[in-house]
C-alpha cells in the first residue's frame, strides 16, 4: 500500500497536544523507533478534537501511510476513523488510550490505568495514615482515562473508614485550573490533608497552590511520571506519582506495526495492558524521561 516502492514507507504518529510532556515524549519515542526501523514519519497532534483527528486520518490515507500510531481523541469518537483507515487498508495501532470497540485496531497497547490508580491510591492512603480529609482533582470528563483512574482511586480509598473525600472538582488536566480550584477548595475545607490528582499537570498546579498557601503539610500525588513531577518528588514537593510505561508501549506499538507491515500480522494479542510503576522519593532518581531504569 505504498505510493512508490522505492520511497520509504510512511508511518503516521498522532497524539494529543504536545503541550503536555507526556504526549510529547510519547510521540518522540515512537518517532525515533520508526526512524530507526527505516520509516519516514509524519507526527501530528489532534488536540483532543476527534473531528481534526478524523481529518488527519484522511490525509494519512491520502499519503498511503503504511501504519498509524494513535493516542486517540475519544474512546467512542475514534471508532469511525479507525474503521475508515481499515477500509483504506491502513492498519491502526493504539497507544495509551483504548477505544470502546475491539477487533478494529491491530493493537491496543495501554498502561493499566486502573492498576496504576490503585498503586497510587494505596500509597496515598499510606502517607495519610489511612485517615483524614482529602480532595480529588478530576481530568477531562470526556476522557475515559479520567473515569478509570478515579474509579481506581476510590476502589481503594472508599474502603478506608478513616479517609473522607470532602471535595472533588475537575481541572480538565489543566495546571492553572488546578491551581485556582485547589486554592478555593482549601478555603472551603481547611481540614484537607491530602490531594490526589488524576494526572501530573494537575498535581503540579495543586502543589503550587499549596506552596502559595504555605500548606506544605498537605500530601499531593499525581499520575503519569512526568519529568517535572519526578524532580518535584526529589525536591520533596509532590510525594508520589505513578509512571505509565509510555516508553515501553510507544516503542512496542511501532515494532508491532513494523512486523504487521512485513508479515501481515502482529503475532500478539490486540489488547495488552502494561503495568504501571509507583514512583516515590525512593526510586525517583532512576526515572528519566518516562523510563524507569531496570524495567
Amino acid at each position: 500500500v505504498s505510493a512508490s516502492p522505492t520511497a520509504k514507507k510512511l508511518m503516521v504518529i498522532i497524539t494529543p497536544a504536545h503541550t503536555n510532556p507526556f504526549f510529547a515524549s510519547e510521540a518522540v519515542i515512537a518517532n525515533n523507533e520508526a526512524k530507526r526501523l527505516g520509516y519516514s514519519t509524519l507526527v501530528l497532534s489532534h488536540n483532543d478534537d476527534p473531528n481534526l483527528q478524523s481529518q488527519q486520518f484522511d490525509l494519512a490515507i491520502s499519503r498511503h501511510a503504511a501504519a498509524i500510531i494513535l493516542d486517540n481523541a475519544g474512546a467512542d469518537a475514534t471508532i469511525a476513523a479507525v474503521k475508515k483507515a481499515n477500509k483504506a487498508g491502513v492498519p491502526v495501532f493504539l497507544i495509551d488510550r483504548e477505544i470502546n470497540r475491539n477487533g478494529l485496531a491491530k493493537a491496543q497497547l495501554v498502561s493499566n490505568n486502573f492498576q496504576g490508580a490503585v498503586l497510587g491510591a494505596t500509597y496515598f492512603a499510606k502517607l495519610m495514615g489511612a485517615k483524614g480529609d482529602y480532595a480529588e482533582l478530576l481530568g477531562k470528563a470526556s476522557d475515559t482515562n479520567a473515569g478509570v483512574r478515579s474509579k481506581g482511586y476510590h476502589s481503594v480509598l472508599n474502603g478506608l473508614k478513616g479517609m473522607k473525600m470532602v471535595a472533588q472538582q475537575t481541572a480538565n488536566w489543566d495546571q492553572t485550573q488546578a491551581f485556582n480550584v485547589t486554592q478555593t477548595m482549601l478555603q472551603a475545607h481547611p481540614t484537607i490533608k491530602g490531594i490526589i490528582s488524576g494526572n501530573d499537570t494537575m498535581a503540579l498546579g495543586a502543589e503550587a497552590a499549596l506552596k502559595a498557601a504555605k500548606r506544605t503539610d498537605v500530601i499531593v500525588t499525581g499520575l503519569d511520571g512526568s519529568p517535572d513531577v519526578v524532580s518535584s518528588i526529589l525536591a520533596g514537593g509532590i510525594k508520589a506519582t505513578v509512571l505509565q510505561p509510555i516508553a515501553v508501549f510507544s516503542k512496542l506499538a511501532v515494532d508491532e506495526a513494523n512486523t504487521y507491515i512485513k508479515t501481515g500480522k502482529t503475532g500478539k494479542a490486540e489488547k495488552q495492558l502494561l503495568p504501571c510503576y509507583l514512583i516515590t522519593k525512593a526510586n525517583a532518581k532512576k526515572v528519566h524521561n518516562f523510563v524507569l531504569a531496570g524495567t
Binding site: 504536545h18 507526527v43 473531528n51 481529518q55 490525509l59 469518537a77 469511525a80
Partner: protein, 379 residues
C-alpha cells in the same frame, strides 16, 4: 491634472458614449469579483505551492477529501456571512454545532424519554436531523431576541450563547459521548451515517450538501427580498428603517440562518464520527469568521458575497490540510495560518482602495458623457 480632464472630455466628445455605458453596466460585476479575487489568488497560490512540495496533494481523491473538510467550515461560514452582512457577529456557532450534535446523538441512542408519561419516543433519521437543525434555529432565535429586544450588542449576546450552549451540550450526557449512532432497526432510525459518509454517484454526500447550501444561500442573498434587505440593513440601518424595512425581523432572520448552518455543521461532524461528543466544533467560530472576512465581506456590514466566503473557507481548509500533508509542526501551522489571514485581508484593503478609485473614475466619465450630451442651460 486639467490636461487629463481635457483629454477625458475629448475622448468623451468623440463619443463612444454607448460603449462607455456598456462598461458601466459590468462595473458592479467586476467590483464584486475583485472582492473575491485576492482570496482566489491566495487559493491558487496555496494549490500550486503544495502540489509542488507534496505529490499526494493534487490528486483527485485528496482533493475530494480536502473539500469534505472544507465543507464543515464552509457551511458554518455561510450562515455567519448573513450575520456579518447585517453588521452583526455570531460567536456562538461552534457551541451551537456542539449542542445540535449532542441532541441528535441522544435521540438516536436513547430516543426522547418522557419520564412523567413513562414513555420513550423514537424518531427516524430525517426527523432527528430536522430536530437538530431546529435546535440551531432556536439558539439563533434566542440570539436574535436578546439582540433586538433586549438591545444587547451581538458580540456579547452571542458570547453568552457560546458559553450557555456549550454548557447544555456538556450537560446532555454529563460530558460523556453518545457512541455508535448507527441506529437500531427496531427503532427504524438507521442511516444517520449517510449524512457525513454516504455518497451520491461517487460524490461524497457532504460535498453535495455543501453545494446545496451554497446554491440556496446565494439565491437567498441575491434573489430574495430578505437577502437584499440584509445588505440594506448592514449598509445603512437608519435608511433601511425609513425605507419601511422591519430591521428587527431581518436581524432575527440572519441569526436563525446562522444557527441552522451551525447545527448542520454539528450534525455532519457527528455523522462522520458516528459519535456525538460535547466538545464538537469548539472554537470553530473563529475559523468561520476568518473565512467570511477572507472572502471579502466587511465586518461593518453591507458588503460581501457568499461566493467569497466559500473561497475563503477553501483557502483556510486547503492551507491547513496542506500543512498537515507536508508535516509542518502544529505550532508553525498556527503561525502560518494567522499570518496568511491577516496578509490576505491587508491585501484586500489596499486593493479595495485602488479598485474603488478605478470604478469611480469610470462613473465620472459617464457623467461627463451625460452632461456633454445636452446643452447646459444658462440663466
Amino acid at each position: 491634472m486639467t490636461a487629463q480632464l481635457d483629454a477625458l472630455r475629448r475622448r468623451v466628445r468623440s463619443s463612444a458614449a454607448e460603449e462607455l455605458l456598456g462598461q458601466m453596466k459590468t462595473l458592479h460585476g467586476w467590483r464584486s469579483l475583485l472582492l473575491r479575487l485576492r482570496a482566489f489568488v491566495a487559493l491558487i497560490g496555496i494549490v500550486i505551492f503544495f502540489s509542488g512540495v507534496s505529490p499526494a496533494f493534487f490528486t483527485g481523491s485528496n482533493l475530494l477529501v480536502m473539500t469534505e473538510h472544507v465543507a464543515i467550515v464552509a457551511i458554518m461560514a455561510i450562515g455567519e456571512t448573513f450575520v456579518i452582512l447585517s453588521a452583526g457577529i455570531d460567536l456562538s456557532v461552534g457551541s451551537v454545532a456542539g449542542l445540535a450534535g449532542m441532541i441528535a446523538g441522544g435521540l438516536l441512542n436513547n430516543g426522547l424519554i418522557l419520564h412523567p408519561l413513562g414513555i420513550v419516543v423514537w424518531f427516524n433519521v430525517p426527523l432527528v436531523i430536522l430536530i437538530g437543525l431546529g435546535v440551531g434555529a432556536g439558539a439563533g432565535a434566542i440570539n436574535g431576541v436578546v439582540i433586538t429586544k433586549l438591545g444587547v450588542a451581538p458580540f456579547i449576546a452571542t458570547l453568552g450563547m457560546l458559553s450557555v450552549a456549550r454548557g447544555f451540550a456538556d450537560l446532555r450526557n454529563n460530558g460523556a459521548t453518545f457512541p455508535n449512532l448507527a441506529g437500531d432497526a427496531k427503532q427504524h432510525n438507521g442511516g444517520f451515517g449517510f449524512l457525513g459518509t454516504g455518497s451520491l454517484l461517487r460524490v461524497p454526500f457532504t460535498i453535495v450538501l455543501l453545494a446545496l447550501f451554497i446554491v440556496v444561500a446565494v439565491y437567498i442573498a441575491k434573489r430574495t427580498a430578505f437577502g437584499r434587505r440584509v445588505y440594506a440593513v448592514g449598509g445603512n440601518e437608519r435608511a433601511a428603517e425609513l425605507a419601511g424595512i422591519r430591521v428587527n425581523r431581518i436581524k432575527m432572520g440572519v441569526y436563525v440562518i446562522s444557527g441552522i448552518c451551525a447545527a448542520m455543521t454539528g450534525l455532519l461532524i457527528t455523522s462522520q464520527l458516528s459519535a456525538a461528543f460535547p466538545d464538537t466544533a469548539t472554537s470553530y467560530e473563529l475559523t468561520a469568521i476568518a473565512a467570511v472576512v477572507l472572502g471579502g465581506t466587511s465586518l461593518f456590514g453591507g458588503r460581501g458575497t457568499i461566493g467569497g466566503t466559500v473561497i475563503g473557507a477553501f483557502v483556510i481548509g486547503f492551507l491547513s490540510d496542506g500543512l498537515v500533508l507536508v508535516g509542518v509542526s502544529e505550532f508553525w501551522q498556527m503561525i502560518v495560518k494567522g499570518s496568511v489571514i491577516v496578509a490576505a485581508v491587508a491585501l484586500d484593503e489596499a486593493q479595495r482602495r485602488r479598485q474603488s478609485r478605478a470604478s469611480a473614475s469610470a462613473s465620472s466619465l459617464i457623467e461627463e458623457v451625460m452632461s456633454s450630451d445636452r446643452p447646459a442651460t444658462q440663466e
